[in-house]
């Protein structure tokens, strides 16, 4: 893969173009393809992830499964450049978004984070802001100016897509922290969607939630696929089977760095795994 070098003018034009695009459309942003090429990760000199290569196709949901401690979350955080914020963290390899390495020298982290959004395991709405303000927080942070009506539209659209609109539409001005766990997580999804990312990364989004909220969020994911590329880390194999089209199985042997054992379509991984370790995991012999 070649890495395109942009000059400053091109970058400026890119920024302008994206801003212009955002003013016109509501939600028709092309989903992107994410590709990891021989990605490795270190924490304070310890190798924790080794040579992970994976293609996450556009507009599809890719699930990352495997026992805890295999590096799935670390891999996910490398995909949107959150990994490097941890002290002592290092990485190797490339991550291509639509063919461009997001770690190239000229790439701005702010741009990467706008195009690749993230939802975390523990819901984290901003308590100092109201529900409405939470949804558009990403836009405010990116200094994107929208008119008042546009703002209202965006709030409504995003909350609808994340399945929260009907429950909160009468109390958009109340603080964002005063919701139940499931509602908070849906608010975080709406917040991530408001900046219109091409990719949405989800790090075990339902593991802290009750089954009812989990159901709603899985529905949301299914509705979103086709519009946004989703990469979801999950412990729950049934969930992976339910929502994803592609799956990658991570494993780390005792004292060894983690890596992908097998990846492919979800149907193939679950019904006809090639590697015996995959078979053992999906049949519940360890977890």
């Amino acid at each position: 893969m070649t890495v395109k070098e942009s000059t400053s003018e091109n970058l400026f034009a890119d920024v302008q173009g994206r801003h212009a695009r955002r003013e016109d459309t509501i939600s028709t942003v092309a989903a992107g393809t994410l590709e990891a090429i021989e990605v490795s990760a270190w924490f304070s000199g310890n190798l924790v992830l080794e040579d992970v290569s994976l293609v996450m196709p556009a507009s599809k949901v890719t699930a990352l499964i495997g026992p805890s401690g295999c590096g799935k979350s670390t891999f996910l955080r490398i995909l949107n450049r959150m990994h490097e914020s941890t002290p002592g963290a290092q990485l190797g390899g490339e991550v291509l978004l639509d063919g461009e390495d997001i770690y190239a020298r000229h790439q701005r982290v702010t741009e990467v984070r706008k195009r690749i959004g993230m939802v975390f395991q523990k819901p984290n709405p901003f308590p100092a802001m109201s529900i409405g303000e939470n949804v558009v927080a990403g836009l405010a942070l990116a200094h994107v100016k929208v008119s008042k009506e546009r703002r209202g539209e965006i709030i409504e659209t995003c909350l609808t897509r994340s399945g929260l609109w009907t429950e909160v539409k009468d109390r958009l001005a109340t603080p964002g922290g005063a919701l139940s766990g499931g509602q908070q997580q849906r608010l975080c999804i709406a917040r991530a969607l408001a900046v219109e990312p091409e990719i949405l990364l989800m790090d075990e989004p339902c593991s802290a939630l009750d089954p009812a909220s989990t159901f709603v969020i899985e529905q949301t994911i299914q509705e979103l696929s086709g519009e946004v590329t989703i990469v979801i880390v999950t412990h729950n194999m049934q969930q992976a089977a339910r929502v994803s089209e592609q799956t990658a199985f991570f494993l780390a042997a005792q004292g060894e760095p983690g890596g992908i054992v097998e990846s492919g379509s979800t149907a193939q991984i679950f019904d006809d795994p090639q590697d015996p370790r995959t078979a053992d995991y999906v049949h519940g012999r360890f977890g």
Binding site: R81, V112, R113, F120, N124, A142
Partner: protein, 340 residues
Amino acid sequence: MSGAGAPQLLEEDRPTRGKPRTIERGLSRSDRVFRGSSTGVGIFVLVVTGSIGLFLGLQSIPTFRHYGFSFFTQTNWQPERDQIGIAAVLVGTVEVALVAICVGIPLAMSLALFITEYAPRKLKSWMVSAVDLMAAVPSILYGLWGFFLLQPHAKYLARWLSQYLGWIPIFKVSTDPNAAVWQQSAYTSSVFITGIAVSMMVIPLACAVMRGVFDETPMGEREAALALSGTRFGVIRTVVLPFGRGGIIGGSMLALGRALGETIVVLMIISPAYDIKIRILEAGGQTISALIAGNFGNATSAQLSALLTAGFVLFVITLGVNFFAATVIRKSRSGALTEI
């Protein structure tokens, strides 16, 4: 289970159904002495503290009786002419404290943000030590620094302020700042310079409180802001500052309390003048604590009573400010997790 050989329960022993029992803690004698004496010490500390206010208050009664309300409106402090009032020194105290706060709080907040958000790990512990050291340096040394190092440089700054911002009343000076040979002594020993020196004492206090609070910002919210924005300022603006609001306000109030009570630095820099003046760049001014320290040596007993009354007023003000600060910190989100 009761069997034939089981001892019969006495009526008093049988616990009442459904209600918790009161348990008699049979404390040993040494424990009772321990509890009693430590409680006694605690109360003793309470009593001594209260009595400070009480004694000062008692001493103030003759003064208030003599001068009445004019004590608060009279600006002169001339005991030999029986003219005593704290109007001027009260205003001066507040002015010096406000200058110290306006200079010190932004600097303290920047330093706190630097330590928690920007400093690399190794530098962070050095910076924390530096701030603690700054707090440990006695005010007499800052007084020396303020008079001999700060003042010669700051007077130029004062002159520049009165040159270009002199249309704002507080920056006006009675002499002509644009004169080729300008009157340097008019810009020294002023509220402005004193306030800057006092800010050195205020900064470490406010910085420590704010830093403690910023450190407590929940990681989850930080990550959410980071994932959305990609900039450190984005995280600060959206998460750190709103979370730390209680600490910022509380820390500023504590700093204000400290600045109001600062004695030695003021004594060494300011040149005593007893009129209500709002021109902070001009020489002259006085604060309550410097008034007391300065006039203490040659005070008759009547004058002493007046000084003590002024001290009582200072006591009430600083106590009020500090109580307010402690309440704000405790009630805020960040304060619930912090010990000041």
